[in-house]
């Protein structure tokens, strides 16, 4: 399969006062094949959103490579970077905050064309109209209105419309449905699925909700404290999680069905998330891992294949 995005040894660190560093993302590598959807999950503070923004170069990575269609984005500067970024677009978590409250909808959605193409205003609005229809918004009724008049779900549709204006190949969705009600969340997930097949989009879907991720993803990657724990086909990962952390995450999800007996052997995570300024040595999960042994503190487990397409970073993977 053709690779569209290849992230190699991505590191993002922030300064947190003198001599202190936040290790937000530490040596993450993964690749996305054309047309696939990769779900990126983890608890808050695990670095999944930072990864998304670092790929987009909205945050400068400390080191590592982000190859998009063969070009390393981390080496590009200003104009070249802006041009290369046209192929990648992003949808953000907060539907209200991701739209400028002072601008009209047609200008928000038309903005990418206003920047990148020389077509006339009329032609631009015509394209905006087509996109409105595609994402299920009434162009006539909403074009001259401003974002605050719309609900969260509608705002997210507007964001999606804007992101598709430049015909991107890769879409990075950063928690696109976590601020929405369940009934609206389903609308947006269905819309994304439909658009994906229509435009042959590749999607990096960042979320904390494992069920949502499972619904939309071909493959799933699990992050913990800036590190990649496990990455696999989604059916495999959900059926036979190999990393104790993945397992704990899955066990913690409340199933909306009173007839499903809660697993009696479910192990809930104990203890607190360690600090990202001073992460544990060796395996970062060891402080909360029920299976941790001496070697886990001494040696960092590398991400390795345990079956075709199933990689895990653990000294003692399950199954």
């Amino acid at each position: 399969m053709e690779e569209i995005l290849n992230v190699k040894d991505l590191v993002v660190e922030f300064s947190a006062g003198p001599g202190k560093k936040v290790h937000a993302v530490s040596n993450i590598s993964f690749a996305l094949a054309k047309g696939e959807t990769l779900g990126l999950v983890g608890e808050s503070g695990c670095g999944k959103s930072t990864t998304g923004r670092a790929i987009m170069q909205l945050i400068k990575p400390t080191s590592g490579r982000v190859e998009f269609e063969g070009a390393d984005l981390t080496t590009l500067r200003s104009k070249k970077l802006r041009q290369a970024r046209q192929g990648i677009q992003m949808i953000f978590q907060d539907p209200i905050s991701s739209l400028n409250p002072r601008r009209k909808l047609k200008d928000i959605v038309g903005e990418p064309l206003a920047i990148w193409s020389n077509i006339s205003r009329e032609e631009r609005y015509e394209k905006v109209r087509e996109m409105f229809e595609l994402v299920g918004l009434d162009f006539e009724a909403s074009q001259d209105r401003r974002p605050h008049e719309f609900s969260g779900g509608q705002c997210q549709r507007i964001s999606i419309a804007r992101s598709l204006m430049l015909n991107p190949r890769l879409l990075i969705c950063d928690e696109p449905v976590s601020a929405l009600d369940v009934s609206v969340q389903a609308q947006i997930l269905n819309l994304l699925r439909e658009l994906k097949s229509r435009y042959e989009l590749t999607i990096l879907f960042i979320a904390h909700d494992l069920a949502v991720v499972k619904n939309i993803s071909d493959r799933v990657a699990v992050m913990y404290l800036g590190k990649m724990c496990e990455i696999s086909e989604s059916e495999t990962l959900y059926a036979t999680p190999a990393h104790p952390y993945t397992r704990a995450l899955l066990d913690a999800v409340p199933e909306p069905d009173p007839f499903v007996e809660r697993k009696s052997d479910a192990h809930h995570l104990e203890g607190e998330l360690p600090s990202v300024i001073d992460p544990p040595s060796g395996c970062r999960f060891r402080t909360r891992c029920p299976y941790s042994q001496d070697i886990c503190a001494l040696e960092e487990p590398p991400l390795r294949d345990i079956s075709p397409g199933h990689q895990v970073a653990c000294h003692f993977p399950m199954n």
Binding site: E43, P254, P256, D257
Partner: protein
């Protein structure tokens, strides 16, 4: 104010809370009734704007004074607290009714030490000295499984993680041994792993202390295995109420059905299209005639749009729903119609008792 009584712990009757705004009257809680026994949990499920938080505040009677119209009764231990003075209300808040609110990051005072935030409630209601109050607070911190409770006692909220802070708010709510615990989206702001810990803790404490608990949430997954009974709210009204297993296996109301089906599930395979509910929840100002869910409902017909469905009883006990075209067909014959707003306002609870 006696403990010798026959009624339930909490009996909410036709509760209405309207807000007067410049846009018109917002009917945030509109004719809501339910009862709750000691030692049991009722889950109130609704999407944002369905009025579930206003309901919890109305039950506590913690509403602003200006621009609010309320009606109905809230019998707590047999006394109607809607008739209480502010002084009387302050006597039961914290002492008999505890509140755990949504966001542990904002619900603790950032400049007051945790210990003080717990003891001030104890000292206010139980009038004991400082040392005893501290001892009590530390034992409560222990009971909410707070690691190193003595040290946390003199910590500030910002030094704790979200999960630990929520344990502190639970400790505060439980400090005086309340009879009723209202948990308003207690885990929405928390990670899924912490959510499980907090929910387990709440159920454990609720059983141990034989409290009644109202668990308010938007997440059906949260209420599915932790509530005895579930009430589904939509646009300020309870549209279906049933014991948990009955609700999930035999839902009647079309909204409940759509809500349950729209949730992506871990047990379902990838890439299945989800059932979605088109449109958005209605504006609570000037709600239209008929069923409030009708504009978004695939099954809505003329009657749904013109005539508001009353709460009707399904075949199983304690199962009420408001729908003209319920799942599985109309079961109860029309004579069993229980209440019809504006025509014969029969209270739900009286029907339940006549059973």
């Amino acid at each position: 104010m006696t403990d010798v009584r026959n009624g339930p712990l909490l009996d909410v009757k036709s509760l209405r809370t309207y807000f007067q705004t410049s846009r018109g009257t917002v009917r945030a809680v509109d004719d809501v009734s339910f009862t709750l026994e000691s030692g049991s949990t009722i889950g109130i499920v609704g999407e944002s704007g369905s009025g579930k938080t206003v309901l919890s505040r109305s039950v506590m009677r913690m509403l602003p004074k200006a621009g609010v119209i309320h009606d109905g009764a809230v019998l707590f231990e047999g006394n109607d607290i809607t008739q209480y003075s502010n002084e009387q209300l302050r006597g039961i808040w914290g002492a008999k009714i505890g509140l755990v609110s949504q966001d542990p990051m904002t619900s603790l005072n950032p400049v007051v030490k945790i210990g003080r935030q717990i003891t001030e409630s104890i000292r206010h209601h139980l009038s004991i000295d400082k040392a005893q109050a501290k001892e009590m607070a530390i034992s409560i911190l222990k009971s909410v499984s707070m690691p190193e409770p003595e040290r946390r006692f003199s910590a500030y909220p910002h030094e704790l993680s979200g999960g630990l802070r929520q344990r502190v708010t639970i400790a505060i709510a439980l400090a005086c041994g309340p009879k009723l615990l209202i948990a308003d989206e207690p885990t929405t702001a928390l990670d899924v792993t912490v959510q499980a810990q907090i929910l387990d803790l709440l159920s454990k404490l609720q059983r141990e202390r034989n409290m009644g608990m109202i668990l308010i949430t938007h997440d059906l997954g949260v209420v599915a295995d932790r509530c005895d009974e579930i009430a589904v709210m939509y646009a300020g009204k309870i549209v279906e109420k049933a014991p948990t297993k009955v609700l999930f296996s035999n839902m009647k109301m079309r909204y409940t059905q759509a809500l349950i089906e729209s949730i992506p599930r871990l047990s379902a395979p990838s890439h299945v299209p989800l059932r979605s509910i088109e449109g958005r929840p209605p504006d609570l100002v000037g709600t239209p005639a008929g069923c409030r869910f009708a504009p978004r409902c695939h099954f809505a017909d003329e009657r749904c749009r013109t005539q508001e469905p009353p709460l009707m009883r399904a075949e199983s006990e304690n199962h009420l729903f408001a729908c003209w075209n319920p799942v599985g067909g109309m079961v109860p014959p029309p004579k069993e119609v229980i209440s019809r707003l504006g025509i014969t306002p029969i209270r739900e609870d009286s029907i339940l008792r006549s059973n």
